[in-house]
């Protein structure tokens, strides 16, 4: 469990990082917190010839609000997200999700950009990006683009990033006032990747759910929005039948894999249970649709 030899370069700017990455091509990898990349290198699952360290790029005030978005620098640490007053205020669901990510030592180093780019199917941050319709800012040599979260995750450990591209910033559009939220996951141990998880937001209006979002993770190759279930609940007063129909729809929509820790059937079962709980929390926090 020692990596093969590699070169290490530290970039001071986005320009330098993307230039270096372009120069070395697919032999190179950016490294941020190293919490996923280094274990993979030690297992020799990946063996980049060059590591381009991007940590020095981070602007100090990585979490800020502008133009109806909360903007988060890609190098923002998990722990900073977990404890940021702005995040707690604007996206309490995100702050809550962060407490489930690994352990404190790892949260002190792991970054949001790293988590999104690593794209573990059971990771919380990719699910948050999908739930909250995040917009992912990507830079490459001489260029930039924005990828919607819904299009960013292409498979397990697989994203829309091209060689030489790095994520620089993630923008989360603010939620309407009176939006309730719920976050539930089930892991075998505290801090483990979840066997399955669900997050929901509900925006209420006069006793009805004006907007419902549900994101599921750990139950497929990528985090997914449960579109059919969202549609079934929108406009309802979360009557038990409506919720049950939505849960059924959501269970039918997911396509989890069997693995060592859980069968596909059990994961599908969990997805329904956890989504039901997250929706219940969100509905209650939305004042039962009162707002």
């Amino acid at each position: 469990m020692k990596p093969p030899a590699f070169e290490y370069v530290a970039a001071e700017s986005v320009e330098e990082a993307t230039a270096r990455l372009a120069e070395y091509g697919d032999d190179a990898r950016p490294i941020a917190g190293g919490q996923s990349l280094v274990p993979m290198m030690n297992f020799r699952l990946v063996s980049p010839a060059v590591l381009v360290d991007i940590r020095r790029i981070a602007p100090p005030d990585a979490i800020g609000e502008a133009d109806g978005h909360v903007r988060i620098g890609a190098l923002t640490r998990h722990r900073a997200l977990e404890t940021s007053p702005l995040i707690r205020d604007r996206f309490p669901v995100l702050a809550a999700a962060m407490t489930h990510v690994a352990h404190l030592a790892i949260r002190n180093r792991g970054t949001i950009g790293g988590s999104l780019c690593h794209a573990d199917p059971a990771a919380e941050l990719p699910a948050m990006a999908v739930l909250l319709d995040a917009r992912i800012h990507v830079a490459r040599r001489n260029g930039e683009r924005i990828v919607e979260a819904g299009a960013f995750f292409e498979g397990a450990l697989w994203t829309a990033l091209e060689d030489g591209e790095i994520v620089t910033r993630i923008d989360f559009p603010l939620l309407p006032p009176g939006t309730g939220w719920g976050f539930r996951e089930f892991a075998r141990r505290h801090g483990d990747f979840a066997l399955a998880g669900a997050a929901a937001t509900v925006t209420g209006s006069a006793g009805r759910a004006a907007e419902v979002r549900i994101a599921l993770f750990g139950v497929g190759e990528t985090p997914v929005r449960a579109a059919a279930a969202e549609a079934l609940l929108t406009g309802t007063g979360f009557e038990p039948d409506a919720v049950a129909a939505a849960i059924d729809a959501l269970r039918n929509a997911v396509d989890p894999d069997d693995d060592l820790h859980a069968s596909a059937d059990y994961r599908r079962h969990l997805a329904g249970i956890l989504a039901g709980r997250a929706l219940g929390d969100a509905w209650a926090r939305a004042g039962g649709g009162a707002a």
Partner: protein, 803 residues
């Protein structure tokens, strides 16, 4: 965390050192990162080994091409079976147990590989990075052989793992007493099931690590290693390399846990020694976690069919069991592969009075990592099986689980009691432990709370487990069946040097148990000095003439006994010397806190002054007297049979009726470990053991696929409990003295792991008692509960919410 009663002190005039909550002297060093483990040891010119390990479960080696690896940067050599065989005799764990077949365990695979992770070639390079790079270049040409992964299928011998054994059945044994068949037919109730605890691995925090140094000038070999058994290794390596003991030394410096996994001889130990001699350079191998999870001995892999017969009053009348032990690929030295499965049948009757018993065991070789000793050996499984049967019976008879145990546990007046397997329980508080555990747990109250919780739709369960074990085993009983080595004695040498300092040397090897503290307490108390005056030397084969090490809950009984004997004879010497120096009768000499004095006078000298008088001021003691004195004493202690340790565990769990997550909410242990040397250390051992047992019950499982590939090759997939999964554990100690051991001590290092899987399994079963399901397989993961519950509901769809 715990509220253990202060032991030992009550009733004696002077607070005893034995029995006091003395802080662990090893902690300041270990907790501030100043411990010194094998990997911390730097040897000038050391080179590093990486192993090329088998990625096949069962295959013939058609060829090994190491040419490319030899050319890789920094490589000093690539070595295979023949290189080792040229200098080392093969390892063969023998036993005089009938129906045991000894098989060879070659340090590097010879001709065949028999499990994934088996070392095939050793690559030596300037550092571990280069060695790993080169190991990846060793090309092994394998001819695949059919895999032997299912132990029941392996019994059919369609494919043989060890051709020279002629069968996969490596050991078989049967214990029988009384008319079992009659008991079964005549019984009011027979409960039976097929039980299984899945394969587990000890997972010590320090991976195995060895450093061999060969001094060509002295022709002497020193092995530093993460081992529990330096003396045992020294003796084994002396045979393997044909070296006398004074030119072969095995040292275990600080060792980060063992749990039995560091109590055997390993191929890597032989390889580093052989290569150090061959290369004339210090050779180090530092195992990584992947190697630990594939090539360190594993545990508990048995299928047990068992039935228990009871009369209408719930009294046990007969017990029968058939055990198949999946021992993995090799029979580990010196314990042999029969150790774990034979102990299951030996201990199955537990602490109960059962007239008729028949237990049969078959140990089967499979193409998996070898199994070996693991904390509790056999008893975690036997206790799980027996305690499940007891609860199943209680339920059928509508008896409270506490009541059925009270009716069947051997009572005080029945000791010594001989169990159906032949084990003799000398005397221990079987009934007292049950009573104390119920008391501390607040059993009646908790049952009422449980009923209320059920009313609210919550699934709360309470599980009891009682067990007994043999500890501190002496020379009369072999620690493993038929083993040709002696594990029944321990030796101590205590010396007062010319500065008056007391050094006590042992052959045991503390690796987390706090023996540097507890043995110092015993020596201090017996000798009459302060704890801090005593230094403990251990973990070094050069310390005493013969020893094995620390395993099998033996060290406080055996080394403690040796400490007591040698301290007493040293004290006599001190008294004699003092009587000359202080010119008083020996009967008037007292020694306390390191000061020697004459009773009723103010004449006294310190130990330092006494040592100076003895060693330096040659006129203080007459020559003749001096020559017959020695400020050093050695003694060997043999408890002969050993003694009984007993406990009752009670666990309370709550199960989420929808996700099937199990949380252990409350845990109480009442145990009889005899005279308690240090309640704080006993509590710590109980806590750690229970945590491991909870791991066995809920989380830990080594998983192989059908082709014998190990799927749990990292801590992502092999799931050990973390602090968050472990509740506060209360330990209560029954402070009695064992009648059979010097000092009254009983061993207690393993007990936590023995009781916990059973207690948690019973609690889970209790929580789900409204459903028609059997908890007969551990770990009882959420996935298993999901399948069990869905199956009882008789549909393929979603389990109904709640139960």
């Amino acid at each position: 965390m715990s509220a253990g009663a202060p032991a030992g002190a009550a009733g004696t005039a002077r607070p005893g050192i034995v029995g006091a909550r003395v802080q662990r002297r090893e902690d300041p060093r270990l907790l501030t990162g100043r411990g010194s483990y094998t990997d911390d040891r730097k040897a000038a010119g050391a080179v590093h080994v990486a192993f090329c390990r088998s990625d096949r479960a069962h295959a013939r080696i058609a060829g090994i091409d190491a040419a490319q690896a030899r050319q890789a940067p920094g490589v000093l050599g690539v070595f295979t079976a023949e290189d080792i065989a040229a200098v080392a005799r093969p390892i063969r764990a023998t036993s005089n147990m009938p129906d045991y077949r000894a098989t060879e365990f070659a340090p590097l695979a010879r001709g065949k590989v028999r499990h994934v992770g088996e070392p095939v070639a050793a690559v030596v390079a300037g550092d571990r990075y280069l060695a790993e790079d080169a190991a990846a270049l060793v090309a092994v040409d394998y001819d695949p052989l059919p895999d032997i992964t299912d132990p029941e299928e392996a019994l059919a011998d369609r494919v043989l793992l060890h051709e020279d054994a002629g069968t996969n059945l490596i050991a078989a044994r049967e214990f029988a007493r009384g008319d079992v068949d009659g008991a079964m037919t005549g019984a009011a109730l027979v409960v039976e099931d097929r039980f299984r605890i899945r394969r587990k691995t000890p997972a010590a925090i320090e991976n195995r690590c060895y450093l061999a140094e060969y001094d060509a000038g002295r022709q002497a070999l020193t092995l530093h290693g993460s081992t529990q058994v330096p003396g045992l290794l020294r003796d084994a390596l002396a045979e393997i390399f044909d070296l006398p003991g004074h030119r072969l030394r095995v040292v275990a410096p600080d060792v980060g846990g063992g749990f039995g996994a560091k109590a055997s001889l390993y191929p890597e130990e032989v390889v580093v020694c052989a290569l150090a001699m061959r290369l004339g350079r210090p050779v180090k191998w530092t195992g990584d976690r992947m190697e630990d999870l594939t090539a360190t001995s594993q545990a508990f892999d048995e299928i047990v069919r068992a039935k228990l017969a009871l009369d209408a009053d719930g009294r046990m009348v007969g017990l029968e069991a058939d055990v198949i032990g999946d021992i993995g690929a090799y029979s580990i030295y010196p314990w042999t592969a029969s150790l774990e499965p034979v102990q299951v049948v030996s201990f199955l009757p537990g602490p109960y009075r059962i007239a008729a018993y028949r237990g049969r065991v078959r140990a089967v070789a499979t193409s998996k990592t070898p199994t070996g000793p693991y904390r509790g050996v056999g008893r975690p499984v036997s206790t799980f099986v027996m305690e499940r049967l007891v609860d199943m019976a209680a339920r059928r008879l509508a008896l409270d689980p506490a009541e059925i145990r009270a009716r069947n546990l051997v009572r005080d007046e029945e000791f010594p009691y001989k169990a159906g397997s032949g084990i003799v329980w000398d005397r221990a508080g079987f009934q007292d432990c049950l009573r104390m555990a119920l008391d501390r747990f607040g059993y009646a109250e908790r049952r009422a709370e449980q009923a209320a919780a059920r009313g609210d739709g919550r699934s709360v369960g309470i599980g009891i487990a009682s067990y007994a074990e043999l500890t501190g085993i002496g020379s009369r009983i072999s620690a493993a069946p038929g083993m040709p080595i002696n594990t029944g004695t321990e030796r101590a040498t205590i010396e007062i040097d010319s500065t008056g300092a007391v050094t006590a040397a042992f052959g045991i090897a503390s690796h987390g148990q706090g023996l540097e503290t507890t043995l110092a307490q015993i020596v201090a108390e017996e000798l009459g000095v302060r704890v801090e005056d005593v230094d403990i030397v251990h973990g070094d084969s050069a310390a005493v003439a013969h020893s094995t090490g620390t395993y099998a809950s033996r060290s406080i009984v055996l080394a403690g006994g040796a400490a007591t004997l040698s301290a007493r004879s040293l004290r006599e010497q001190v008294v004699k010397a003092a009587s000359h120096i202080l010119e008083a009768a020996e009967t008037d000499i007292e020694m306390r806190d390191g000061v020697v004095s004459v009773a009723g006078t103010d004449a006294s000298i310190t130990l330092r002054e006494l040592a100076r008088a003895f060693y330096t001021e040659m006129r203080r003691i007459p020559k003749e007297a001096r020559e017959s004195l020695d400020l050093s004493a050695s003694a060997t202690y043999d408890p002969f049979f050993g003694t009984t340790t007993a406990a009752t565990h009670i666990a309370e769990v709550e199960i989420d009726p929808q996700t099937f997550g199990v949380a252990v909410r409350r845990y109480v242990v009442a145990e009889d470990c005899g005279r308690v040397v240090n309640p704080m250390i006993v509590d710590g051992q109980v806590h750690g053991g229970v945590a491991q047992g909870i791991g066995a019950a809920l989380l830990e499982e080594v998983v192989h696929d059908d082709s014998g590939q190990i799927l749990t090759g990292s801590f992502v997939d092999y799931v050990v409990p973390s602090a968050a999964e472990i509740p506060d554990i209360e330990a209560v100690h029954l402070d009695t003295e064992s009648p059979s051991t010097l000092g009254g001590y009983r061993g207690m290092g393993e007990g936590g792991t023995i009781g916990a899987p059973a207690a948690v399994a019973n609690a889970v079963a209790d929580a789900l008692s409204g459903l028609d399901i059997q908890i007969n397989e551990l770990p009882v993961t959420p996935e298993r509960l999901f399948r069990l519950i869905r199956n009882t509901e008789g549909n393929e769809g979603e389990p109904r919410h709640g139960f």
